[in-house]
Symmetry: C2
DNA sequence: CGTTGGGTTGAGAGAGCTCAAGCCTAGTGG
DNA sequence: CCACTAGGCTTGAGCTCTCTCAACCCAACG
C-alpha cells in the first residue's frame, strides 16, 4: 500500500501538486483511446490495466500497474491517448495535471523523479516480450507480479510467495502474446513441475530452483572500453 | 541528419552541457550488458541497435535508434545497463553525463524535454510487439523505418519511399520476434503483392492501398516532437 | 437453484521453426 | 581491375508447437 502519491519525499520540501482521486472500482476507465492527454496518474493501490485495441478488434495489454507505478506517460508526447486504462480491482490513484504548474515543482526535482520512473517503465516494458517458451514467459510473469503484490509465507519449511492475481488468464495471454489456453496449459505444467500451486486466481510460488541466475555477470573484464575517447565538450542550446 | 545534439532549441536560451563524441563505426559498442550507467546518448546520425542477450544465448533487439533518438534511459533507474548498444552503421552520437550538472540545465527545461522523449520511447516500444500475422509486422516495421530514413521518390507516377536498411534480416527477426527465414518469406510475399521492391537491403515502399486497414490509429507512427516534415506520414496512418 | 463468466481440457489443423543446401552481394586481396 | 571469399540472403522440406474451435467444469452471485 502506498500511503502517499509520491512516496519519495521531496528532500527540499518542495510541494508537489497532485489531485487525490476518490476510490475507483473494477471496470472503471481512467482514460480511453482517442481522448486527450491531461496528465499522469500514479497508482496508490490496486491494479490498473493499460491496453491497446488492435485494428482487428483484438486487445493487447501493455502493462499492469500496481501501487507506486506511474501510467499514462506514453501519451505525453503526442497529447492524445492511444491506449485505454481500466481498473481491474478496487483502486486509488493520484492525478498529476499536465503541464506541470510552477507550484507543482515544475522546475524543481519533480521532473527528474518522473524521469526516473520513466526509466523503470521502459525497463519493465522490455521484459514483457514473449519468449521462445511460453512456460518461461508465464513463470517470469508470475514472479514479477509476486514481487509486487505477493506475501512471503512458509510452505513446508521453504519460503514461498502467495498472491492473488488481479487479472484473468486471457489478460495474461494478451500481455505475453499467447492465447488464453496456452497460458492455462503453461500454468498446468508449472504446477506439475512443483513450481507453483494453483487455485483459481490464488497461487503459491515455491522458490524451488526457480531463479537460476546462471551465468551471472561475467565478460566484463574482457570488454573493451566504450568509445568515450577524447570527446569534445560543447555547450549547445 | 541531425546537425545538433538537441534539435529542439531551448526557448529560454538555457545551455545544455553535452559531450560531442567522435564518429563511430559499424560494430562499435556504446555500452555493454552489466556496465554502469553513466549517462544518456542521443543519436545524431546513423543507426544504433540496442539489444538484450537472453540467458540461453539468443539475442533480442529492443530498438533501432536513428537520428534524433535518445537511448540508454532504461538503465537510469537501476544505474546498470541490462542491454548492449552497438552501432550498425557509421554514426555520430552525443553523450549527456548523468547526473545532470547544474550548468547542464538540471533545473531548467531539460528534464521536461527528456521526459517528452521518454514518452516517445514508450510509445515506440509498445509497437514493437509481434502481431498475429508476420506479414503485417514486417510491413509495419518497414514503414516505420522508411519514415525515419527513407527518401520520397516518384515511381511510375505514384510516390514511393526508397531506403537502405541498416540491419540484417536476422536482426529484424530478433526485433519482431520471428525467425530470420520468416522475415525473408514475409518480404517475399510483400514483394509479390506489389507492396515493395527488394534488392538486398535496398528497398522501395510503394504507397499502394496497403496500409489503411481501417480508419484507425492516426498520427501513430508520426514523428515525435522534433519537426521533421520529410517523412511520409500519410502512408503510416 | 439457475445463470454467467472464467477456467480447464481435448482434438485437429495451420503456421512458424529448425535444419539444410544453394545463391548472391559486398568487401578483400592479389 | 578482377577473382575470391565470407557472410548475408533465399528457398525447400519436415516437424513441432501454438492457435482455433468446442465442450465441459466450476465458483460466484443473484
Amino acid at each position: 500500500m502506498e500511503p502517499r502519491c509520491w512516496p519519495e519525499h521531496a528532500p527540499d520540501g518542495s510541494a508537489v501538486h497532485v489531485e487525490r482521486q476518490p476510490p475507483i472500482y473494477p471496470g472503471t476507465t481512467l482514460w480511453r483511446h482517442g481522448t486527450a492527454f491531461t496528465g499522469l496518474y500514479t497508482v496508490r493501490n490496486g491494479c490498473i490495466k493499460v491496453m491497446e485495441t488492435d485494428e482487428t478488434g483484438g486487445d493487447r495489454v501493455l502493462s499492469f500497474a500496481f501501487a507506486g507505478d506511474m501510467i499514462g506517460l506514453e501519451a505525453l508526447a503526442s497529447g492524445r491517448h492511444e491506449t485505454t486504462a481500466v481498473a481491474l480491482t478496487e483502486a486509488m490513484v493520484c492525478f498529476l495535471p499536465w503541464p506541470l504548474r510552477a507550484e507543482a515543482g515544475a522546475d524543481g526535482a519533480l521532473p527528474l523523479r518522473l524521469l526516473q520512473r520513466a526509466s523503470t517503465l521502459l525497463q519493465q516494458r522490455s521484459r514483457a516480450i514473449r519468449l521462445a517458451d511460453p512456460d518461461l514467459s508465464v513463470q517470469r510473469f508470475l514472479k514479477e507480479i509476486a514481487a509486487r503484490i505477493g506475501r512471503v509465507e512458509q510452505s513446508g519449511g521453504a519460503p514461498a510467495i502467495r498472491l492473488r492475481l488481479p487479472m484473468s488468464r486471457m489478460e495474461i495471454g494478451q500481455y505475453l502474446g499467447y492465447a488464453e489456453e496456452t497460458v492455462c496449459r503453461s500454468m498446468h505444467r508449472l504446477r506439475r513441475q512443483g513450481e507453483i500451486e494453483v487455485s483459481g486466481r490464488t497461487l503459491l510460488l515455491k522458490s524451488k530452483a526457480g531463479a537460476p541466475r546462471s551465468a551471472a555477470l561475467p565478460a566484463l573484464a574482457a570488454a573493451p572500453a566504450p568509445v568515450r575517447a577524447r570527446s569534445a565538450d560543447s555547450t549547445l542550446a
